[in-house]
Symmetry: C2
Subunit: 342 residues, 2 copies
């Protein structure tokens, strides 16, 4: 039972009482309540324990009053089930023991069956729907972003192995992307069927591609996913990090909402997205280290500029940083809720 549907209204480009806001990584280390739970379990265990994952998902809704919850998980959770051997290191981040570099290893990747392979995610969603009064967002990584981890074996600086495979071994790259796309489609469908009321695809690394490479190697797979999950009826969000050079192309992906980072002006972004789509974003996460007054002014500026799009969901332009002062996050949420719109 929703008592606040402003988020879904904005996704559907319908008028809402106020601009809805949620925050990427809102369930995370900047919250003392989260750190308390993380002190007891490692990151992967937290993702895979429904009661705990649900608890940290609920924290920012209660503490900050955001207008949507997002499932606590990681984009590499379904990837692990494809057979890549995942570990999280405190310093290096994710490390994949079996990166894909040739056709043989690409063909070994499994297309997952969510009910069997990641039942804990679906269980977390079911628990959450019993408690939440705001909509629940499910999510996955976009295929190109996921492919970079699978090919590089973790985070990367230049994405050299990924691009080399694209250029030199397009058949291997395509095989890999097809497996990821099939997995991601099944995974998002299962999340919606379990109760997720909207889903977001995170394309954290598509912005490292030239526009022509983006159109050739990344966008078609994203389009395929949105086309296949559209019949389920849940609103879709496509977040593209570092999108200034590819936004006009990214909006053609077929999502209802286009999420943008902070390195482009919201006025131009909203005009590019246009009235047929909603936009999400785009405060620099570092602005949360300024003052409540500056945060408020920045929020007003973004909300006004976003009026050129069909709807607006306030968010940061990227995930909230672990060092962020919670009081400033609260100031942001309150400021966004107070801004007169329309």
């Amino acid at each position: 039972m929703l008592t606040n549907d402003t988020f879904l209204k904005a996704c559907n480009r319908e008028p809402a009482a106020h601009t809805p806001i949620w925050i990427m990584r809102q369930a995370g280390r900047y919250l003392p309540e989260y750190r308390k739970i993380r002190a007891k379990v490692d990151f992967l265990t937290l993702c895979k324990t429904p009661e705990l994952a649900a608890e940290v998902t609920l924290q920012p809704v209660d503490i900050l009053g955001v207008d949507a919850a997002i499932l606590f998980s990681d984009i590499l959770i379904p990837v692990e089930a494809m057979g890549v051997g995942l570990e999280f290191h405190e310093e290096k981040g994710p490390v994949l023991a079996n990166p894909v570099r040739d056709m043989e290893s690409a063909e070994r990747l499994r297309v997952i069956n969510p009910a069997e392979d990641v039942p804990f995610v679906l269980e977390t969603i079911k628990i959450l729907r019993r408690h939440l009064k705001v909509p629940l967002i499910g999510f996955a990584g976009a295929p190109f972003t996921v492919a970079t981890y699978i090919i590089e074996g973790g985070s990367s600086k230049n994405f050299l192995n990924t691009k080399r495979m694209m250029y030199r071994h397009p058949d291997v790259f395509k095989k890999l992307m097809d497996r990821i796309t099939a997995t991601t489609t099944a995974y998002l469908k299962a999340q919606i069927e379990a109760g997720a009321q909207a889903v977001q695809l995170f394309d954290s690394w598509a912005g490292v591609l030239s526009p022509s490479d983006y159109v050739k190697y990344a966008l078609p797979h994203v389009k395929k996913i949105f086309r296949r999950i559209k019949p389920l009826g849940a609103p879709t969000i496509y977040f593209v990090n570092n999108c200034a050079g590819i936004l006009a192309r990214a909006k053609r992906a077929g999502a209802d909402v286009v999420g943008v980072d902070w390195r482009l002006d919201m006025n131009k972004a909203a005009k590019t997205v246009g009235k047929s789509f909603a936009i999400q974003g785009n405060l620099d996460p570092c602005v949360l280290f300024s003052t409540p007054g500056h945060i408020r002014d920045s929020a007003i500026d973004i909300v006004k500029k976003a009026e050129a799009a069909g709807g607006h969901i306030f968010n940061l332009g990227h995930g909230i940083l672990p060092e962020t002062p919670v009081d400033n996050v609260r100031a942001l949420v309150d400021a966004v809720h107070e801004i007169k719109i329309g």
Copy 2:
């Protein structure tokens, strides 16, 4: 005595026999001839030994046939002379022993006197002018980029300390930027007076700012530098990495040439820059890991699209990677020289 002035012609938006090309970091680790010299001396010693710095500067001109040389140095060389305590670590990159975090440390920064503080740079330029048949480009880091190193104490992921200082301690940030701007102006003037025939400001990190922050905190200082060196008559280049969201603003900096990265389409970039400026760029450095045929097609595409600007200097969108195959770099230079223009 120049036997090839295509680079200067393109800077001045005059017709040239072919599109000129040079490559950011063209004197570098991808060349076996460079690695041979670096095996004998560390990076800072190489920068500070005029005969050796001149030798590695000349290497790519001889080996690849590029149309301009760029002084072998580092943007942190004048910064070290400001008193920050610089070391280069093989893994971590630059480490500054005395980062600036408050007014006291900002006020301790010296404005350099190039003839006294970095005589080896000016001496390298004089040696090079005796040998070169193509123009010599001098360079410096743009103030915001330099400030990030001074504030963070090295490379950074989120530039949190830099942005926090901008927002919370604008007086300290301004003091720091003023010192850097004065140093950079003096440094570029001295390079031109010693014989550099053009100069480039590298704004490697301006692209991490939101457009409104870029206009407020970074651009005014760049403008000041170009205004002050303009009377010396040497063409100026302003390279802004990750510029898709701020290019229309960056072109107002006052440089003759605007350098762009690869994450935006050259057609759009050239139209934004327009006929009153030349443009430089914008091949993804990773394309050099593809095939000569793909490299050639990518080069043709960029050259054609760049015709919307007043002139075009071919370059990568960022520095060449150490793993790059030299044969492919040669294939690029040859391809660019063969493309019919106009």
